[in-house]
Symmetry: C2
Subunit: 82 residues, 2 copies
Amino acid sequence: MPQFMDVHHGMQGITADQLMEAHRADLAIEHDEGVHFERAWADPESGTVYCLSAAPSADAVQRIHERTGHPADEIHPVPVSI
Amino acid sequence: MPQFMDVHHGMQGITADQLMEAHRADLAIEHDEGVHFERAWADPESGTVYCLSAAPSADAVQRIHERTGHPADEIHPVPVSI
C-alpha cells in the first residue's frame, strides 16, 4: 500500500499525551478508510507534527484526520523510502 | 539520543537509487559527528525529502548533510514521537 507523510502546523506545545491521544483517535477509525497510521513525530517548539501512514490515497488519510479534528496541512505521497 | 526530522526541498524527480546513494554517503561519515540517519522518505513529485536521525544536535545533522552535498532546508528536533 502507498505510504504518505502528512504534516500538521500550529501544534506548538503539543505533549506526548496529546500526540498519543490524537494518534489513538486516528487508529480507532482508520479502518473505515483502509488507512494505517504507523508513526508520528512532533516538534512542540515549532508546532510541527509529522505522521507516516500507509493508505490507499491522500484523501483517505485526510478524511480520517478530519473526522478526528486535526486535518493535515500537507499530505505527501512518499513512494521512495529507506 | 535526541531525534531530528530534517526536510529537503527542490528534490523533484529523485529516484530510489539517488536517495540510497545520498543516504549511503551520509552513513559513511555520520560517525564523525555522532549522528545516525535512520530512515528517509521522498516525494519525487513535490521534491520533498524527509530524513529521520538520532544526533547530539541539529548542527551535527547539518554538518554531515553539508559535507555530502545536500544541506537540509529545515531541521526539527522531534522529542515527542510514537
